[in-house]
Every structure is written in C-alpha cells, then in structure tokens.
C-alpha cells in the first residue's frame, strides 16, 4: 500500500517530507516537476555515486583507446609516413576520444543504475507531479502506518491524498 499526497506549495511538501522522515518512514519518494535541492537534502542525498561510474568509464576508455590503437598497429605491422609503429601523438588523440566516449557511456550506465530507471515495476505516480504539484509518496506502508502517513500529509496541507495498491 502506498500513500500519495499532492501539494501545491513547495514548503508544505518539504514539511510533509521532513515530518514523514522524522516519523520513521524511510521508503518515501518526493516527486516534483523540477529539481529541488531541499527535497534531496531531506532524503540525505549527497554526492551521487554516478561520479564513480564516470571516472571508471573514463579510465577504462583511455586504456581501451590506447590499447586499440596500439594493438591495431601491432597486429599488422604497416609503417606509415616514417613514423614509429606505436606513434604516441596520434594514439593519444584516439585515447582522448575513447576516454570521453566511455566516460559518457558509463555515466549513462551509472544514471540508470543509481536512479533505478527504467522503472520496470508499477510505481505510484500523479501526473500533476510533472506540472505544478509536489507529491509525496510513502511506499510499503502497511496497517497503521497508512493512517499515520496520511495524517502527516494532510497536516502539512496536501491538496489531494490517495492510496494505491502496489503490486510486488
């Protein structure tokens, strides 16, 4: 069972979120039509692990790039222009490009990994959350938690409250 509350104003929404957090609701989602730093703070989201993916990707890309260029040169020894077989300046360009390519691709991977998207399972959602409402979703609430959460949300000044069955 998930409890959904929609707010018209940012501060109400944040208050509700803080209260819920304080009351021990850990599994809450804070939906907003635009990024809100405060909401992220409420959830205690600091530095994102995405950066690790970026770094790993960049390093891997650099290594792969150079290895690809050098390896290709060594498979068939075909000297060109009187250059050495492992020619550093051009290979560094390749390395550079591959660093960026892998960095970008790994960042994308990291995004999906960290954000949990694509959302394969049904997720509680209100379309107004993407227009001009701020929505708090308390997920995995059971029994009395439902009422308690609802109370906190209503107290904070929600426009609309809904209950949604979650499929597991």
């Amino acid at each position: 069972m998930a409890v959904i509350g929609a707010f018209a104003y940012e501060e109400d929404f944040l208050a509700a979120a803080e209260n819920l957090k304080a009351s021990g609701f850990d599994n809450i989602s804070l939906l907003s039509p635009l990024p809100l730093e405060e909401a992220q703070e409420v959830l205690g989201l600091g530095k994102s692990p995405v950066r690790r993916f970026s770094l790993a990707g960049a390093i891997l890309g650099g290594i792969c790039g150079f290895a690809m260029a050098a390896g290709t040169a060594l498979v068939f020894i075909l000297p060109t222009g009187g250059r050495t077989i492992i020619t550093l300046p051009p290979f560094l360009v390749i390395t550079y490009e591959m660093t960026i390519l892998f960095g970008v691709l790994f960042t994308l991977l990291g995004f999906h990994f960290v954000s949990g998207l694509p959302a394969w399972r049904d997720k509680p959602y209100l379309p107004s959350a993407n227009i001009d409402h701020f929505v708090v979703v308390v997920e995995g609430a059971a029994g009395e938690q439902v009422a308690r959460a609802e109370a906190i949300i209503r107290d904070a000044g929600a426009d609309e409250i809904r209950h949604v069955e979650e499929d597991q």
Binding site: I77, W120, R121, D122, K123, P124, Y125, L126
Partner: protein, 181 residues
C-alpha cells in the same frame, strides 16, 4: 496512477519476437546457403572423376596439371592431353563421358570447365611458389583425389591466406603487396 515501462513494452513483445525470428531466419538462411546451396561443387560439362584417375589409377596431380610447379596457374589439361590417353589405352575408349570428350576433340573445341576455386581479380596468386614451398595440393584443395566431382572445401578469404602466411612465417607474408596487385 502508476507508471511501468514493462506495461508500455508489452504490446511490442510480439512484433519484436517476430522480428527476432525473422533475423535469426536470415542468418540461418545465409548460413544454409553458404554451407549447402552455394555452388561449391558445380556440375561440370564432363562428369570427370578425380577418384578414378588419381586414386584408382594412381596418376599424380602434376601429370595433368602440368603447369602447377612452373607457373602461377596450375592449368587444366588440354583436350589433346585427355584424348591422348583415352585414345591410346584401349579400355577407356568407350563410355558416355569419354564420348563427350571425343566429341570436343573432334570439334577442336575446348571444354568449358567451371571454376571451383577462384581468387578475385585483385589478388596475385601463384601456384609455383606454393608448391615450391612444399605445400601439398590437398592443403588448399582438399582431398580432390577422393572426389568424384570437385568440391570447394575452403572458402578463399583473406584471413585464410593471411593466417597460413603467419603460421608458416612466410617472408614478407603479411605485406599487402605480396598478394594484392
């Protein structure tokens, strides 16, 4: 209200599967063509049997393919060469295929053999070098001596040539100009 990508994808499942099956089919078809349907052993104008000549009668390859060790081209035997034996040896003068040969000879026409092994026009290949390097005919052509109709056992591709050159450490064997012209 809820969102699920899976839900959205569900109607696409069948078209996607159908496409997948189609693509797999394509690959299978192409493979089957390459393996069984491509003309690896074309029907020749005369049903010549290498088995009879080479295995049964123990004629060495270069008895007929006389140019193999001296020129780039192995050469198919001339009609006169064929008829030479088939006229002089009494027990091989008859037979439907031999009569065909005789007809070619009488008309002074060459036999339009169909090429089984063909290297592209941009490749320089010489039999002489390979035979002088000690290669057996069978290494590339397969056991022709056991074939009633010649079948191509290798697909002549660059990697096939290069791998052998690499393995045998041929001098300049990986220089493009060794083979490409």
């Amino acid at each position: 209200m809820s969102i699920s990508v899976l839900d959205a994808l569900r109607p696409a499942k069948k078209p996607a599967l159908l496409t997948l099956v189609l693509v797999i089919g394509l690959f299978v078809g192409a493979w089957v063509h390459g393996k069984y349907l491509s003309d690896r052993s074309p029907v020749q104008p005369i049903d010549f049997s290498h088995t009879i000549h080479t295995t049964d009668n123990e004629i060495p390859c270069q008895h007929c393919h006389i140019y193999a060790d001296t020129t780039p081209v192995a050469g198919v035997p001339s009609v006169s060469k064929c008829i030479g034996c088939h006229k002089s040896l009494p027990d091989v003068r008859e037979g439907p295929e031999i009569l065909k040969l005789a007809a070619y000879w009488e008309n002074r026409e060459p036999i339009p053999w169909i090429k089984v092994h063909d290297v592209p026009d941009f490749v320089h290949f010489t039999h002489k070098r390979h035979i002088k390097a000690g290669l057996e005919c069978q290494e590339c052509h397969g056991s022709v001596e056991t074939m009633d109709r010649v079948t191509r056992v290798v697909t002549i591709r660059m990697s096939w040539c290069v791998d052998c050159h690499t393995e045998k450490e041929v001098e300049n064997g990986r220089d493009c100009w060794t083979c490409h012209k």
